[in-house]
């Protein structure tokens, strides 16, 4: 027995069987991987690198550091300076940089960078740069005489942070924090813009998910219990919206819900509302919720349906024969079996809703905008780093949800149609 174990099993050409098997397996692995490699490279270059580049932009802005070399050097030499009372040399460096900005026409760029954290600095910088060449020593007094704002500790904190091109300040701003004279602090109530919108986006997405679940449940149940021929026909009603252009569906919701639209005409026609009492259902949050529910409903129905279809009807019959009421049968027997479908559909709808852009942009009006629209707004205003930081925060939220989806349901179970 012991002898047989020590004697190595070999292949026909005398190699140890274990090594030959390992070689064959690693060759198979390599072959499988090689098939995926071209797509991986493509996705890396056109998807991962751009997103990585965006994240880099969210922590990088050289608008000030590239245009204020003297101040930059001074900040590097004096890392522990007192922002409440910077010395004369700092002011001298600032004045020389301001004069330089005027010559190189970089005032706007530098002012914009500081403006993110200390609002109102663009005009301060423009005025300072215009007057810089006429200022005489001592620079501290002459600059403060020009505008006492130059002595604000928050401004000096902001310039000190901006003297490095890499910064986490955009994430601070996107978290509604404010640079005060004593450093970063939570902003007041009127500064709660971004986190408030994140919160609102999550709330609206949750609401849409619940509405979708409530109206998808009976329909999925009907589709799952009808005979195949009938259910296939009705399934077309679910799949057609899925295949129809998002813009077509948004357009038709505008036609239906606007003030002179079909729904209002109908309600006025049957006398439910008066001509003056036409409902405002479009270009506000109602419009966003209705149109997004319509767009996302198939993503709820399809997973629910595929789970419900395999639930044996005999369970419900057994429960009834054992004396359960129809409500108890539903609550204790049927509903628990649909939970995987509910989880899959709800998570998918929620994830898609959180990142929605087109529908809110077109039908949301002023108060129906979501976080994606804010990113787009800052992109259009050339606030690239701030837009990237908000996008970075949204990305983290989405990836967490995606991870949850993978853990709970598994992405390979994602199906289409």
């Amino acid at each position: 027995m012991a002898e047989a174990a020590t004697e190595l099993l070999t292949t026909a050409d005398g190699r140890p069987l274990k090594a030959a098997l390992a070689a064959a397996q690693s060759r198979a692995k390599r072959r499988a991987f090689l098939l995926v490699l071209p797509l991986l490279l493509f996705v890396l270059l056109t998807f991962l690198v751009p997103i990585g580049y965006m994240l880099k932009r969210s922590v990088e802005h050289d608008g000030f550091s590239s245009s204020a070399p003297a101040l930059d050097a001074w900040f590097t030499e004096n890392p522990g300076f007192d922002p409440a009372n910077p010395p004369e040399e700092a002011y001298a460096a600032l004045v020389s940089d301001l004069a330089r900005m005027q010559v190189e026409k970089t005032t706007g760029m530098a002012g914009t960078r500081i403006n993110y954290t200390v609002p109102g600095t663009i005009s301060l910088f423009k005025q300072g740069a215009r007057e810089a060449k006429d200022l005489v020593a001592p620079f501290k007094e002459s600059l403060l005489a020009l505008d006492p704002e130059w002595g604000k500790p928050a401004l000096w904190r902001g310039m000190s942070a901006a003297s490095s091109p890499y910064t986490a300040e955009f994430y601070q701003v996107a978290s509604d924090r404010k640079l005060t004279d004593d450093g970063w602090a939570r902003g007041g109530d009127k500064d709660r813009i971004y986190l408030y919108l994140f919160f609102k986006t999550f709330l609206i997405s949750g609401l849409i998910t619940v509405i979708c679940l409530l109206i998808a449940f009976p329909v999925s149940h009907l589709l799952a219990t009808l005979p195949m021929a009938k259910s296939s026909l009705l399934m077309i009603l679910v799949l057609l919206p899925f295949w129809t252009s998002l813009l077509v569906r948004t357009t038709s919701w505008i036609a239906l819900l606007q003030e002179q639209g079909i729904v209002n005409d109908l309600l006025v026609g049957i006398g439910l509302i008066s001509e003056d009492g036409r409902l405002t259902m479009m270009y506000n949050m109602t419009g966003t919720i209705v149109a997004m529910t319509h767009v996302l409903l198939p993503f709820m129905i399809l997973p629910l349906y595929s789970v419900m279809r395999v639930i044996p009807p005999s369970y419900a019959r057994a429960a009834r024969s054992l004396g359960a009421t129809s409500w108890t049968t539903f609550r204790r027997v049927y509903l628990p079996q649909t939970l995987p479908g509910i989880a899959a559909g709800s998570l998918l709808v929620f994830i898609l809703a959180v990142g929605y852009y087109i529908t809110p942009a077109l039908v949301g009006g002023a108060d129906g905008q979501l976080i994606s629209n804010l990113i787009s707004f800052h992109m259009s205003k050339s606030n690239w780093s701030l837009a990237a930081a908000i996008a970075g925060m949204l990305l983290v939220a989405i990836l967490l949800l995606y991870w949850l989806y993978d853990r709970l349901i598994g992405i390979d179970r994602l199906k289409l149609g």
């Binding site: 692995k29 499988a32 995926v36 751009p50 990585g52 079909i262 009834r320 837009a387």
Partner: protein, 323 residues
Amino acid sequence: MVLPTYADPLERVWHYTYLVICGLVFLFLIAPILIVVPLSFNAEPYFTFTDKMLALDPAGWSMRWYDTLLTLGHPAPETVRDSSWWSAAWHRATWVQAAKNSFWVGLWATILATTLGTIAALGLSRPEMPYRRVIMALLISPMIVPIIIIAVGMSFFFAKACVAPDSAMGAIFGYFLSEKGCLANSHLGVIVAHAVLGIPFVIITVTATLSGFDQSLIRAAHSLGANPRTTFFKVIMPLILPGIISGALFAFVTSFDEVVAVLFIAGPDQQTIPRQMFNGIREAISPAILAVATILVVISVLLLTTVELLRRRSDRLRGVTGR
């Protein structure tokens, strides 16, 4: 669902309520899509039914918005419609240009996504594939990550992804890039972006088809002397073709409907139908958009029919009955 004979009156009432609820949900799903069709034949520039339309008066109905699709941007819309008029419409009309752009971008994006996606799906469905879960998660993520994030990332990166026009790289790729030699504002940039967005659909549909694929058929082909190429084209391909085609259709529709990436990375030369519609809805909303919408609805009905027929064929081939 059939009502059981032992149902009590309350259950009967509930059962019919349930059917009514389902009917209303189906109405909610389909009405917005069907409503654009009659509205697009409105004779007036309104987004609602006029009294004349409701009275079925022929004067209330017209094809004028379909005509707008040909005349908008036409150099001489009022002249006689001879061959030169049609030729001008084909080359100059705004909507026709948008349709051509959408079609070509969609076609190339589909080819790119389907080719790369199918090959990758073959590797992913092999049992030996290492790190399958992570790679799968990565390849599906363009569908999950909000389009605005992808668009912002691409707009930053594509503006920097340039080659010098006078270099060797510029000589090869320059034709596909913008005038500055960048991916931004170029057809190639839009194609690449749309291909990325279409890949998850190809991966999902093709791996789903391959999951029912009997791997021993490959070994059988090999043992009968077929090389990998012959095995692919003669054995694997015919069996998974329905999956590939529906993946390709999904990818095409994704591209054909995509507007956010186009808004962020495309230039004035890459005007597509969704972009034109998006701008139309935002600025001067006219029933011409409803005419386009109607055409798109007809296209989506055709595509849905194709995909359903393919799915049934695929199920039959693989011996799966029913849905």
